[in-house]
């Protein structure tokens, strides 16, 4: 069912960038601690798409995304990038990692250099860029990530939590990735910081036509930004479709311990109370539109 869904909802005009085929990962295979991270997951992601990945803690989402740049090897199935099997012998994984940038949870804990600029240069330097070239790339990335020039010569450890995270994101952006995978980039930030980071990420995707995979716990965040949503539960791909389609399955989502965005519930309640609103509105913006319309004010 899933495969079918994915195939039919991927927009015709998009070129396929990442394709996972029957991907399976088993931890500690053959021991008493054996556990399935996920099983038989297949999907296709097109260039420039913004994908939201949601699922419970332990649903396998963090493990899944680490296969997209070859950090983990699957126990079954494979991943194609630009049509090429990334786990085939002789494939240049290091080059792939510059194309598929990955920002881990709490990325600020990976900072290590003396200055912000030097830390962001780490990626390009590893990819073989010359010092000056790396510096230019780092400056571009820092600007994109919204780190002010006044911080560039500071030690990354002197910055605030939100700033550190931006520096860490810039550290990945400086490699000029075509795909950006972010694992809970807003975790542990205050509400203003959350929105800031997510807006920056969304703007990046638009500006540079970067494909984005955003792993998140928050339905509201995902509903607001994603073109399509991937829902994982207990190592299975349950849904992979547009937010409207996914959130119309509120009951199924609740069954696997997730929920729809708060707005969706509000719309359903309003519709039940007799107000002719569009129940597929998932974001505050959409809700405003449809409520105003229903009230005849527009």
């Amino acid at each position: 069912m899933c495969l079918h869904l994915c195939l039919c909802t991927l927009h015709e005009s998009l070129t396929i960038m990442i394709e996972a085929k029957n991907l399976t990962h088993v931890y500690n295979e053959g021991t008493a601690m054996e556990s399935h991270a996920f099983e038989d997951v297949s999907f296709r992601i097109g260039r420039g798409e913004f994908i939201g990945v949601i699922g419970h803690t332990g649903s396998g989402k963090s493990t899944l995304i680490q296969h997209l740049n070859g950090l983990l090897k699957p126990t079954g199935g494979t991943v194609y990038y630009d049509g090429e099997d990334i786990f085939k012998k002789g494939y240049d994984l290091r080059k792939l990692r510059s194309k598929v940038g990955m920002v881990f949870q709490y990325p600020e804990y990976q900072l290590f250099e003396e200055t912000v600029l030097r830390d962001v240069m780490f990626g390009p330097m590893n990819m073989g860029a010359a010092e000056e070239e790396a510096k230019e790339a780092a400056k571009r990335a820092l600007t994109l990530a919204g780190v002010g020039e006044e911080f560039w010569e500071h030690s990354p450890f002197e910055l605030s939590g939100g700033q550190k995270r931006r520096v860490a994101i810039a550290g990945v952006l400086s490699m000029d990735p075509e795909v950006l995978v972010l694992d809970e980039p807003a975790a542990g930030l205050d509400p203003a910081g959350r929105e800031d980071i997510l807006n920056t990420v969304a703007a990046l995707g638009k500006k540079k036509n970067i494909t984005i995979l955003l792993v998140s716990h928050s339905m509201d965040d995902v509903a607001q930004y994603a073109d399509r949503i991937m829902v994982l539960s207990k190592g299975k791909l349950v849904f992979f479709d547009t937010p409207e389609e996914v959130f119309s399955h509120v009951e199924e989502l609740e069954e696997i311990g997730l929920s729809a965005p708060q707005i969706t519930y509000l719309m359903r309640d309003l519709a039940a109370a007799g107000l002719p609103v569009d129940v597929n509105a998932n974001t505050v913006e959409e809700a405003r539109e449809t409520i105003l319309k229903a009230l005849g004010k527009k």
Partner: protein, 262 residues
Amino acid sequence: MREITLGQYYPADSVLHRLDPRTKLAGTLVFLISLFIAKGFPGYAVATVFLAAVIIMSKVPLSFIVRGLKAIVILLLISVSFNIFLTDGTPIFTLGPLKATREGLNLALFMGVRLIYLVIGSSILTLTTTPNQLTDGLEKSLGFLKKIGVPVHEIAMMMSIALRFIPILTEETDKIMKAQMARGADFESGGIIKKAKAMIPLLVPLFISAFRRAGDLAMAMEARCYHGGEGRTKLRPLHYERRDVIAYIILAVYFVLMIIMK
């Protein structure tokens, strides 16, 4: 990074897992001593039977136990070859200036077996006992040292914290390594200097996070009024069961047998 079996608990439901940690500590100690008593074939035969029985009872897969041996392969090779070539006696064959002797071969064989048994014996202790139980057992067994001013509780606490942090730091290392690899870091290729340099992006964040965790832990302990061992009670005090008595009897029989067989 992930292959540290020493100090890694293997969860299973076996008699050995349920034994009192003090019994297991005593058992390990007796086994280690017995290996040094044994001089000839009969002694090692008894030790082998005993060890095999313990391994079977522990329900830990053999592959897990053998994994701990990887760390001593080089040590094992060196000591075995030294013994073969540097012992005086009847020569068997020569390798350039080196002369292998029958006595040397004999000695090397026993030495190798002893080394392997030593490691397996202590691995079984740590595989069947959680770090917490282990330090509990040590604290209680060495309690008499308190009388001469040794801070037994504090040492045990430090040990259990250190052991507790091994998996956490291993996981942390793994995470940071992956994050840096995602930025194109290469930890494998290059000479020794390049490899050492490549460790900086790993070690700096690791140390920072270790200090942060240590600070958090100290704060959490203070917040719960931890003030050392004086007057502190245990949630699960250790006490011997019937199986421990049986284990001690088997152990005594084994030890006597080893002395006779030496």
